[in-house]
Amino acid sequence: MFAFITRRIIQAVVVMLIISFIGFTIKHHVGDPVRELVGVSVKASEREALREKLGLNDPFFVQYKNFLKNAVRGDFGISYFFKKPAAQVILEKAPATLELVFASSILIIILSIPLGTYCAIKPKSILSRLIMGMSIVGVSIPVFLTAIMLIFLFSVNLHILPSYGRGETVAVFGGLWDTGFLTIDGLKHLILPVIALSSIMLPLFIRLIRAEMMEVMQTEYIKFAFAKGLSKKRIWFVHAFKNTLLPVITVGGVQLGIMIAYTILTETVFQWQGMGFMFLEAVERSDTSLLVAYLMFVGVLFVGVNTVVDIIYGLINPKVRISGTK
């Protein structure tokens, strides 16, 4: 276990190096940050002076070397727009995204497990067909279409729910985390984005759980369990469900990437002030330090989650040995 984790950490460092390098290459193609800082009528010579001052005229590798030197000390550069360290900006924006993802995940788990299992156990029932039908339609509607329709219906026409933003937030954990969970206004602002974000992931999970569960139900040991006369409920929920979890967790880990892509879309439509929105804004403003820092952050997140998924995978399925040697 220890060897496994050490190896993963070393790998993670290599991954971070590569990500930072690619991020650095990309940042030269998203536009000129100086342009976003000065007014249009400012002379080219003034812009040049600012470029020089910000070190943007240094050769690529000098810039990259400086970046790495600072990054080791946890300094990812200053966000030009926010005028704060990029890492700090990301940490300030992370709670919004994490709360959105968390609330959606809860909704997805609460609904997909019972619905997916039900559809697998009673595949021929009308309700199952209905759920499957709905889920396939759900998967087919683009998330931004859902989001705009929700705003159109609930905000603009019915005036029930707010159309954008997080609403009133409260600082907790000594001001480190701004939460929208503790105010009624914050919760109201959460509803539409969560529905929009879940609208595409929920059907996917229902389908996945159903497919995997049905596969498990066909296996010999379940048939044997039935033959042995174990109670149906026990077979379904203890034997079959446990074995369904394995692939669901793997795919779930993979889905995190898609989820982050969808948070970008959802956050944009609802102007939810999280990392996805910040990222798109950073691209539009050529806020390059923030861009690279965001990529690094997402990279860390992915490597971290994948490591955890692999560990859980190993715990559930002892056949996959997580050892240092192979």
Partner: protein
């Protein structure tokens, strides 16, 4: 059942209605990049300057000068203007406003990267006594008072010294959280109580505001940047905010027809044009080809259909009301004439060329570019169009990556000559003129006239020169004029928007009345 629902609604409204203070929630496209008003010359920054600061003079709705912190002024000689300052004016910090603050601010403006271009012409500002200041230019200058609308005196005592990090408080820095970027002390109607950049800024009314005749009655203004047009308009319709600007043309009709909200629009001075790059395409060196293109572009159709009538089709750079405006220079769409000109130039079969335009800079920029590309195909010019976000666009524009490039321009000086200085003068790295002339149009006569305008102080002579410039540009088809964008604001019915908005798009929120 319906009745009960209504009752509940009323109850909710009653509970949620503010009992004491009048708060206005504002939805804008972007917030200022910092609290230091000298850090960027941009629309957002100037709009904010009018909230927390006051200029010496400001523009009225009909483009006259209105005394603000300067009560009156007089010209001492060809170079010097004397300003008599208002007494009993307090800064937000409690300090008293005097002549030394004006002198300090002028000096700071000359150091600001963004403003030094505009204030280079000013030699010195000298305090004659506590409430009199003499401002002197290097050369005779026709736009003296225009520049004074950019002079928002800052609290010199407040910004002097060093902050807790040992950095000077008056440092102008675009990328650091300096003292000036995070604190403000002006004389304006509102002071900032809370700010989370890109999320919201809260302004409270300044109790000691000098202008006791100010009709404004809002106590709190919350500025919320909402980037997307559709989201912004949705937030007004859903009641999340009370006032938004700008409004996209396609939403005008709907906002107008909706109960409880209203729309105000006004002609603007931002001209949208296409430049035809003569260095990249030899065809564009031919005046007939350029004129053919201007004749082929139905800019009135674009105004009617894409801008929903809320823009003015242009034939020249400056709009009506500007010094150089010539009545006769009308838009000239005539497809037959365009085809004839192409034939005359020997390009009856046309040619293929490239075009770039931004997709998030000007109102409906992408759609306009697309429509123009379609129009040019009717005179057999096949256009390969690429649109991109503005962050990437300016690099491409400067590199002159395409044969036809879109550029919009609003003169900081609210004066005709400014268009020519940036858009049509012969590009030169040394002088900085023609900085946005990606068409590489060059005409000695135009260059001479624009330079002469700078030092001409007689308005009539100056206007005649400006008119001559416009006429030359028109006849030579130096660029493809499209239209002047209208400005637009929308708010709830109980907000009296009309009196506070103006052509510069700096709503004077201090004077906003809420019924």
């Amino acid at each position: 059942m319906k009745k009960i629902f209504c009752l509940i609604c009323t109850a909710v409204i009653l509970i949620s209605a503010p009992v004491h203070a009048k708060t206005v929630n504002l939805g804008v496209a972007a917030d200022p990049i910092a609290l230091d008003i000298h850090v960027q010359l941009s629309g957002e920054m100037l709009a904010y300057s009018h909230l927390s600061f006051d200029p010496l003079v400001r523009w009225t709705k009909d483009m006259k000068f209105e005394p603000r912190l300067a009560e009156k002024w007089e010209r001492l000689d060809e170079l010097t203007m004397r300003f008599y300052l208002r007494k009993n004016v307090k800064f937000h910090s409690g300090n008293i406003f005097t002549a030394k603050d004006v002198v300090w601010t002028v000096e700071r403006l000359k150091k600001s990267q963004d403003f030094k271009g505009l204030f280079e012409i000013f030699e010195t500002a000298v305090a004659v006594d506590e409430y009199t200041v003499d401002i002197k230019t290097k050369k005779p200058y026709g736009l003296f008072l225009n520049m004074m609308t950019y002079l928002f005196p800052m609290d010199s005592d407040f910004y002097t010294g060093t902050d807790e990090n040992g950095k000077p408080k008056d440092a102008i820095d675009k990328v650091a959280a300096t003292f000036a970027n995070t604190h403000e002390s002006g004389t304006g109607p509102f002071y900032v109580t809370y700010r989370e950049q890109g999320v919201k800024t809260v302004f409270k009314r300044f109790a000691d505001y000098w202008d006791k005749d100010c009709p404004g009655n809002i106590d709190e203004l919350i500025m919320n940047p909402i980037k997307k047009d559709a989201t912004r308009v949705a937030s007004l319709l859903s009641g999340d905010v009370d006032f938004i600007y700008p409004v996209a043309p396609q939403d005008y009709a709907m906002v107008q027809n909706r109960k409880g909200v209203k729309l105000v629009t006004m002609g603007g001075s931002r001209i949208i044009t296409f430049q035809l790059n003569q260095n990249r395409r030899p065809e564009f060196k031919n005046t007939d080809v350029r004129r053919a293109i201007v004749y082929a572009v139905n800019n009135e159709g674009i105004v009617e259909k894409i801008m929903k009538g809320e823009a003015v089709a242009a034939g020249q750079q400056g709009p009506k009301g500007f010094g150089g405006y010539v009545d006769e220079l009308k838009p000239r769409y005539d497809l037959k004439k365009a085809k004839e000109l192409m034939k005359k130039a020997g390009y009856e079969n046309g040619f293929e060329c490239t075009m770039i335009a931004p997709n998030n800079r000007y109102v409906n920029d992408e759609k306009i570019a697309e429509a123009v590309a379609a129009m040019l195909s009717k005179i057999n010019i096949k256009v390969n169009l690429k649109t991109m976000p503005k962050a990437q666009y300016w690099n491409s524009f400067d590199a002159q990556e395409a044969d036809i490039q879109m550029i919009g321009w609003h003169p900081d000086t609210e004066d005709s000559a400014n268009y020519s200085e940036y858009l049509v003068m012969t590009p030169s790295k040394e002088t900085g003129y023609g900085q946005y002339n990606s068409g590489n149009y060059s005409n000695k006569k135009v260059d001479e006239l624009v330079l002469a305008c700078q030092t001409e102080t007689d308005p009539d002579v100056r206007n005649a020169m400006l008119k001559e410039i416009e006429t030359i540009l028109y006849n030579e088809a130096a660029f493809v004029p499209l239209h002047w964008q209208n400005l637009s604001w929308a708010g709830k019915d109980n907000l009296d928007i009309e009196p506070i908005v103006n052509i510069m798009n700096f709503p004077y929120f201090g004077e906003l009345v809420v019924k």
